[in-house]
């Protein structure tokens, strides 16, 4: 009787565990995604321009678009994706444990992360660098004038380390105040707890929008680090890794070839063999990855090419007002370069 009741308890616990569990095996992410009928994508807890819920609660941003592109490639439908907001601390564990299929969470590609955390970076969808934001009335024009300043930043990011390195190399004193959440760091900067807020420059522009008076703050010109931001997948699933990698490449190639969401249907009839291969008219590139041959067609049709997602989310016409800069195509002197579909 006693033993039975104990076993009974164990059974109940296991049943409950199964009822709430969702399964995803690292080795065949694609088949699990297909069975589940949506991509589970890890994003930030709210960073305008990259991943942020709009007024109606829909996620928008450049990182969100990468997730949508993957969903479009797999299902032909960019809506078949769900988003999990993750803190900087949780993001890798969530990916490792299978809670999300991929991360698109303004995550810096660094060697330590790539080699020691059991994850793979599939590319760079935004070349960024760390910068500083200060109040205009301080009259500062360069981050080298920040000697003795208090810096607000996010705990557990590469920015904490970069700031330390930068100030030490330039023989400047500093005080770091590291918050668990970006929102708290921005709030503390806004109230004057710190002289400067430091993080990736794109995020500085984004967070500036949340300040009481955005125009009273200025982003200093110096970039003190390389922050290549890109999507991340679990190590050891090459097929899935390929799909995420080429979802980004397809958007870059589309821009280079002049294919946009508006003209993509017309372009299907184009003579240019590169375009025909990209849009799946010729070749079996999709099949090789285990998805439809028109994978890139769906990405461009529903999400757009790289230029479209950039301009829509962070570009000159948005509140962030970021110019393409290093994120221009290689043909225009930038760094965005995609291997050919061939």
């Amino acid at each position: 009787m006693k033993m039975l009741s104990f076993q009974f308890r164990v059974v109940i616990v296991l049943v409950c565990a199964c009822a709430f569990s969702q399964s995803a095996a690292a080795a065949e992410t694609l088949s699990i995604v297909k069975k589940r009928e949506h991509v589970q994508c890890g994003v930030s807890q709210g960073l305008p321009g990259f991943s942020n819920p709009d007024d109606k609660g829909n996620w928008v941003g450049m990182d969100v678009d990468i997730c949508r592109a993957v969903a479009a490639a797999v299902f032909g439908d960019s809506k078949k994706v769900k988003f999990t907001p993750l803190s900087a601390k949780e993001r890798f564990t969530a990916l490792q444990s299978g809670e999300v299929d991929m991360l698109a969470r303004n995550t810096t590609w660094s060697m330590h992360r790539d080699t020691a955390l059991g994850v793979d970076f599939t590319g760079v969808n935004y070349y960024d660098g760390q910068g500083f934001m200060v109040r205009k009335d301080l009259g500062i024009t360069s981050s080298l004038e920040l000697d003795g300043a208090s810096l607000c930043t996010n705990l557990g990011t590469t920015t904490e380390l970069n700031a330390a390195d930068y100030f030490r190399t330039n023989n400047m004193e500093y005080e770091i105040v590291a918050f668990e959440k970006a929102d708290e760091a921005v709030a503390a900067y806004n109230t004057g707890r710190c002289d400067a807020y430091t993080t990736d420059q794109s995020a500085l522009y984004a967070q500036r929008l949340k300040l009481t008076e955005p125009s009273a703050h200025v982003v200093l010109p110096e970039i003190i680090s390389k922050e290549p931001l890109g999507p991340v997948v679990r190590q050891g699933d090459d097929q899935w890794s390929d799909i995420v990698r080429w979802a980004h490449f397809a958007m870059v190639n589309a821009e280079e070839l002049g294919v946009t969401s508006k003209n993509v249907d017309r372009m299907k009839a184009a003579k240019n063999p590169s375009i025909r291969r990209l849009l799946g008219v010729d070749g079996t590139f999709g099949e090789n990855m285990g998805i439809g041959n028109d994978w890139a067609y769906h990405i461009i049709r529903t999400v757009g090419n790289y230029s479209e997602t950039f301009e829509r989310n962070v570009g000159k016409s948005t509140p962030l007002g970021i110019s393409r800069g290093v994120n221009a195509l290689w043909t225009q002197g930038g760094l965005q370069y995609a291997p050919p579909v061939r």
Binding site: A26, T93, E99, K210, T212
Partner: protein
């Protein structure tokens, strides 16, 4: 013969009745008392004046954005609460589905109130509803995915909804778990005893925040490849395990207070361990420690705020989140938001503590 009539009693001396006497006794008994009373009154007047100025006289009551709350000497910024109230209660729960949450709140309220009124009839049906039907109903209604209800991800839950879900689940799970642990701690079987002691002491020895970190960052690594829980679920488990350890110690206090005669009488009746425990010991022990149990509930309710640190948006978390809305950024927004959240939390906790005192008084008359 004239009948003897007692004289009417004389009134108490004027110096011992009425407001003046009361004040003399309770406020101005000694010169020290006079000083204390004066100082205390000055403090109360100063504080009351400040609060009144802030909450009413200098406060804003209407407006659509921050411009309503930027006058000099600005007090509370109530329109901020007004504009965000829906978010504070439901979080990002889809607007079209909010009726489901309301229905759950309504049923919970309807099930709880007769439960709390000792004279209300049909207690056993009530218990069956609250412990059997209601959790299933709540689960189906809130998550959806069944009976044509659209599925709502737990990442979209927020505000008071999450606070209540975490608190109520924690309360419902920690009491039975705590009883099992308390009994286990007094078990005659050493393996079980040491297991329970270990569990209780570990969970009581570490801060809840590390348990939540473990649940949110570490637990996935303990599970086999590909098995994973919903994040809210993981936090619920963490909170429930944590408070069950505290609950176990409270229950143990009750168990220790049961007089030996009760055990002997039960043994004389030929009852075994389980029957003694179920019929004799537990009912008495639990009654003894009701204040302790309610205190643990109150502690748990307050501790639900910690889930914001691991990225869930409970009431405090969502209030904090909305401070980032630039269109409401004023110097008074923060204080107003915190005061609002504080009043909500305080009302729940204070009500629980008053109810515990009420039950304590009621039950103690029977002893």
């Amino acid at each position: 013969m004239a009948e003897w009539t007692p004289k009417p009693p004389r009134p108490a001396p004027a110096s011992s009745v009425g407001l003046g006497a009361w004040a003399r006794r309770n406020l101005f008994a000694t010169p020290g008392d006079v000083a204390l009373t004066v100082l205390g009154s000055i403090f109360i007047i100063w504080l009351g004046n400040m609060l009144l100025d802030w909450a009413l006289i200098n406060a804003s009551f209407s407006g659509d954005d921050r411009t309503a709350c930027l006058k000099p000497e600005q007090g509370a910024c109530w329109p901020f609460i007004d504009a965000k109230l829906g978010q504070f209660i439901y979080g990002r729960y889809p607007e079209a589905e909010i009726w489901r949450v309301n229905l759950v709140f309504l049923f919970g309220f309807a099930g709880l109130v007769p439960m709390l009124v000792p004279s209300a009839p049909l207690k056993s049906f009530n218990i069956a509803f609250l412990l059997g039907l209601y959790p299933v109903f709540t689960f189906i209604m809130l998550t959806g995915g069944l009976f044509g209800l659209p599925r709502v991800e737990t990442t979209d839950w927020g505000g008071l909804l999450v606070t209540l879900v975490v608190a109520v689940t924690g309360i419902a799970a920690s009491l039975p778990l705590g009883i099992v642990l308390a009994l286990g701690r007094r078990s005659r079987l050493p393996v079980i005893r040491y297991l329970c002691i270990g569990f209780i002491e570990v969970f009581r020895g570490v801060p809840l925040i590390t348990v939540l970190f473990m649940a949110s960052v570490m637990l996935p690594l303990f599970l086999p490849d590909g098995v994973n829980f919903d994040k809210l679920m993981r936090c619920l488990i963490g909170v429930a395990l944590f408070s069950s350890a505290y609950m176990a110690e409270v229950v143990r206090g009750g168990l220790q207070a049961i007089p030996k005669g009760q055990y002997e009488a039960a043994a004389a009746l030929g009852l075994g361990y389980w029957k003694t425990t179920r019929l004799i010991v537990l009912p008495q022990a639990l009654k003894l420690v009701i204040p302790g149990i309610v205190n643990t509930f109150i502690g748990l309710f307050k501790d639900t705020t910690l889930v914001l640190i691991v990225g869930l948006f409970d009431l405090l978390g969502i209030v904090q989140f909305h401070f980032t809305d630039a269109s409401w950024a004023t110097p008074e927004t923060h204080i107003t938001g915190y005061v609002f959240a504080g009043v909500v939390f305080w009302s729940f906790c204070f009500a629980m503590s008053r109810y515990s005192i009420f039950m304590e008084n009621r039950l103690s008359t029977g002893r």
